[in-house]
Symmetry: C2
């Protein structure tokens, strides 16, 4: 079974960009031309999300290698939303994209196994984001499934929201909590490294503190870093530079709203705008990448 | 809008037991008489889970006031499983039970709002378990929805799994991380207290360390404590005694497998066995309750 880490490296290398397109559909931002075709029921909205994501994926798939659907927006529409998420993941994989399902799941023992079954066996995601608070028992069941099926995890280490520091930055004998989490992630990742020296357990680290990102890159030599918060959330290309290894591998940088919704709902040329936004974001990221 | 905390107090007082029945359906433990009627596809298993949970709820609803379905086992069956979970929550509420959906969700800002929409607006749960790692921004959007609709949250504070201490017990200037989380929960809960002096934000604290439980009860005077791990996971009645206030309120104690599956799959009298297990668990808990 191929390592997830190697498949990710290939996707990023082939498309020559570490950009990951986040799929965070919101009803009030969808093009009116799509909204108008579906009723505003949960089931109508779910079908509208599906159509919008399919068309956005068709536009970005030739440009980027990775997509990250946000589970919450689909879950809010109930079972119909989950069926839409299933079809969106399927479509993205059919287009050759690596799919990271952003679900921030976590639980222990057989319950964590059930979550792993949901994302890997049912949704057929390539990777999932997980929360470390419950400790190793909440990571290892996901890891076991990931290893035997060539999938990956991204563990929350340091997020970029205003309240992130409340618990993640508490100082524990000289090191903040999130550094302890990073050390654990490195240990898990070092156990499942592929041919580029990167493992199947990555870390989610926000883009709002460039210095911290560079320091965590040092603590996590074996881990892919997923950097959210690029674009609409305020991170710039210079902010994310520290996430990469000198060879330009080791990080994927997510942008959701800035690529998905660079238009007013009434715009008739929304597909052109999405393509343009994706190209501009790729260009902006290129300026900060280490040269190979 | 009635406080969730008050509705919970009423449910526990009326049934004269703090027992919460956990709904963790597992295919290989279901009665053969149910399994045999459905195919072993995801959709067949989802319908079998639904029938089993409906019948278990019919048995326990006259005895207990609270049920806690575990989202993961339903999610593992995909969109059909989520539809089954929806029906199980609906059936439990129709029987007059308070329903805590165990989903351990968390994210920030509008993403957390989408999760709150999924559990409160779509599933119509009375409360949900949430994870604190992302800080206040991951709790407050849930709290806002909970407040305006009379629902509740249970924040993970100290869990009872073997690896729980890896991050939860890290010492931060003399206090473990989970005590810092408990202090934050107390602050949130104190802001939304009902008539019994208990608030709508509770804490999940495992039953494996009775001393710690009693200490956390002191740190959390305003919070309901949800104690998992009673019965099959090894906690005893004496272990959970410290979770209660002197008036006997303030804690709900969950038991899942010991009540749901006290039989072999081929047993024809499984419903009697479930009733007997529920009655025995209630009796065992009674012995440790403060007298009123």
């Amino acid at each position: 079974m191929d390592h997830f880490a190697d498949r990710l490296a290939l996707a990023v290398t082939q498309r020559k960009t570490p950009l990951c397109v986040g799929l965070d559909p919101r009803w009030d931002r969808l093009p009116e031309s799509i909204r108008g075709r579906y009723g505003e029921t949960r089931s109508g909205r779910a079908r509208a999300y599906e159509e919008f994501c399919f068309r956005a994926l068709d536009i970005v798939a030739p440009l980027v290698g990775v997509a990250k659907p946000q589970s919450a927006f689909f879950e809010a529409l109930g079972a119909d939303g989950m069926a839409a998420l299933f079809h969106v993941v399927e479509h993205a994989r059919r287009l050759g994209l690596i799919v990271i399902v952003d679900a921030k799941r976590n639980d222990i023992a057989s319950t964590a196994e059930a979550y792993a079954e949901a994302v890997f066996d049912w949704l057929q995601a390539d990777a999932v984001t997980v929360n470390p608070y419950l400790g190793r028992d909440s990571i290892e069941p996901f890891l076991a499934v990931a290893r035997r099926s060539g999938r990956g995890l991204f563990v929350l280490v340091r997020t970029s929201n205003p309240g992130a520091g409340q618990f993640q930055d508490l100082s524990c004998e000289g090191e903040p909590v999130h550094v302890r989490v990073a050390q654990a992630v490195e240990a898990w990742s070092a156990e499942c490294r592929g041919q580029w020296g990167l493992g199947d357990v990555g870390a989610v680290i926000g883009a709002t503190s460039p210095k911290e990102l560079a320091r965590l890159r040092q603590i996590l030599p074996s881990a892919w870093i997923l950097v959210p918060g690029f674009g609409a959330q305020g991170g710039t290309a210079a902010d994310v530079a520290g996430a990469f290894r000198p060879d330009g591998l080791g990080a994927v940088v997510n942008s959701s709203r800035a690529i998905l919704f660079p238009f007013e709902p009434e715009a008739s040329d929304w597909e052109d705008r999405v393509e343009q936004a994706a190209r501009q974001t790729i260009e902006a990221l290129r300026s900060c990448m280490p040269s190979r």
